[in-house]
Symmetry: C2
Subunit: 270 residues, 2 copies
DNA sequence: CAGTGGTCTAGACCACTCG
DNA sequence: GAGTGGTCTAGACCACTGT
């Protein structure tokens, strides 16, 4: 139960003390209770009916207020049990892991948190040969008509999908190699590229936050109010030739992307 | 106008061809038109009334469908003109710029796009001395009761806020220095830290996507369906002492965070 | 079966801008 | 003033889950 403050001030009629709409006031109230912990993660939010009676608003108005919180990612509805405060358990995602082990004690500590949880990782891989989307064509410095090999992966942790990972390779580079085989490459695709004579020594990473596309919603089993982090990684050889482009789509509410960087030697502090 | 397919199949009555709810079907239809470009960025979406008549659904149902798209960040409503397809213009944000100039031609090209647009940057700075939030305390390896100096900045581009940038320094390190002065430090705060004997040589970056808090909504003037990217940067000296922690909040739909990395010397490709 | 949220309707009044 | 979206009501039926 909320603590029974009585009715909220309606905006509509002539009364017009006029502040915020009722549904916003309701959302504000509940949001405060959530952020202060009065409504802890996992706790049940009062039912629509209860809120409606408590605040003297129609069920539709109460629902509108609850929808605000759903779209902010603060509560979820699990019908027909009711609404619950969402749990947020963040894990770390470390794209750099191909290159090195954690170089610092702090990094070590953070990674351990994730790996000690006894998770069961798995993945689904398939390989296609396609004409690349514009953005990929641009990053790999290809021309119209050039083909790429794409390894598409959906990664699971405890049977929950958490990551879409598509890696694109220029067709000419990987033709006939292990990379076109839809099986896990245990020693890592980087290793294979190195053997083929294309060692990556430099990379550019782009990270973007946006709302998911319907396709991503279904593949990652997302609810409303859940943004995704899109991480694009382009790897270059020492001759500045792009040899691989990876698009990672991560569930925003579940993963933090982690980078570690070292100041380039011989660079001024400007 | 939509192309007049006639009524959508309602779920509720006994008819029950039963597939998706009407409002979802409407959202799906419009979403396709948007993603295919039939409704281009900036174009007006048919009015609620028009959609209601065209599909034989009540205004409330049509609104529900439109709300889905609003919360996906695909359309915006500007009352009382109507709904419009949202424009997406992404710029690049490069946290690394303190350390070096773009090291590669690709990076140069991307940065130029951003800087040639003739924007007018500005910022508001204020400085406080506070007890750090838990997360900051943790990153700076401080103990309860330790104080930090925080420089809070809101950055504007053409008078539109695009970035909240709060940097925390352990109080002991920067006491009496220029950093506690709420003015722009043109030569960069890193430079000042170096002069104080705390040169940063290593950093850890964390990037997270989430929906904004109400505070961020107002400071960044965000609409619904707009996630933020939260970028946390912790800088260390060569003795592994954390000397600064920065929290950047960026509007997801406007900025891409860009990192450039070089393979650490002498590391195997594993 | 009772109770939950999900969907949908018909209708009302409001604030705002200038189609 | 006409038309837009924003807010709000009262009421209806549905699907689902758990006591």
């Amino acid at each position: 139960m909320l603590s029974g403050q009585g009715r909220l001030v309606a905006m509509s009629p002539r009364i017009a003390e006029s502040s915020r709409p009722v549904y916003q006031q309701l959302a504000d109230l509940l949001r405060v209770k959530i952020t202060t912990g009065e409504l802890a993660p996992g706790a049940q939010v009062p039912t629509e009916k209860a809120l409606s009676e408590e605040f003297g608003a129609s069920r539709a108005t109460v629902r509108q207020g609850l929808m605000v919180l759903v779209n902010e990612g603060l509560i979820v509805s699990s019908r027909p049990q009711g609404y619950f405060v969402r749990r947020h358990e963040l894990s770390y995602f470390r794209p750099q892991s191909e290159w090195d082990q954690p170089a610092s004690p702090e990094m070590d500590r953070w990674m351990t948190e994730q790996t000690t949880l006894g998770r069961a990782p798995s993945q689904r891989i398939n390989v296609e040969m396609i004409q690349p989307p514009d953005r990929v064509m641009d990053r790999l410095a290809l021309s119209a008509g050039d083909l790429v090999v794409v390894r598409r992966r959906v990664r699971f942790l405890n049977n929950e999908p958490f990551n879409i990972n598509d890696t694109f390779y220029p067709f000419g580079l990987v033709q006939g190699s292990e990379i076109v085989n839809p099986a896990d490459i245990t020693r890592g695709a980087s290793e294979v590229l190195t053997e083929l004579g294309y060692e990556q020594v430099r990379a550019i990473d782009e990270v973007e936050a946006r709302m998911p596309l319907p396709d991503e919603v279904s593949r990652l089993e997302l609810g409303p109010g859940t943004p995704v982090a899109v991480h694009r990684h382009t790897g270059y050889t020492k001759d500045d030739k792009p040899v691989r482009h990876t698009v990672n789509v991560l569930v925003g509410s579940k993963y933090v992307i982690l980078f570690e960087r070292t100041k380039p030697a011989g660079t001024g502090s400007e």
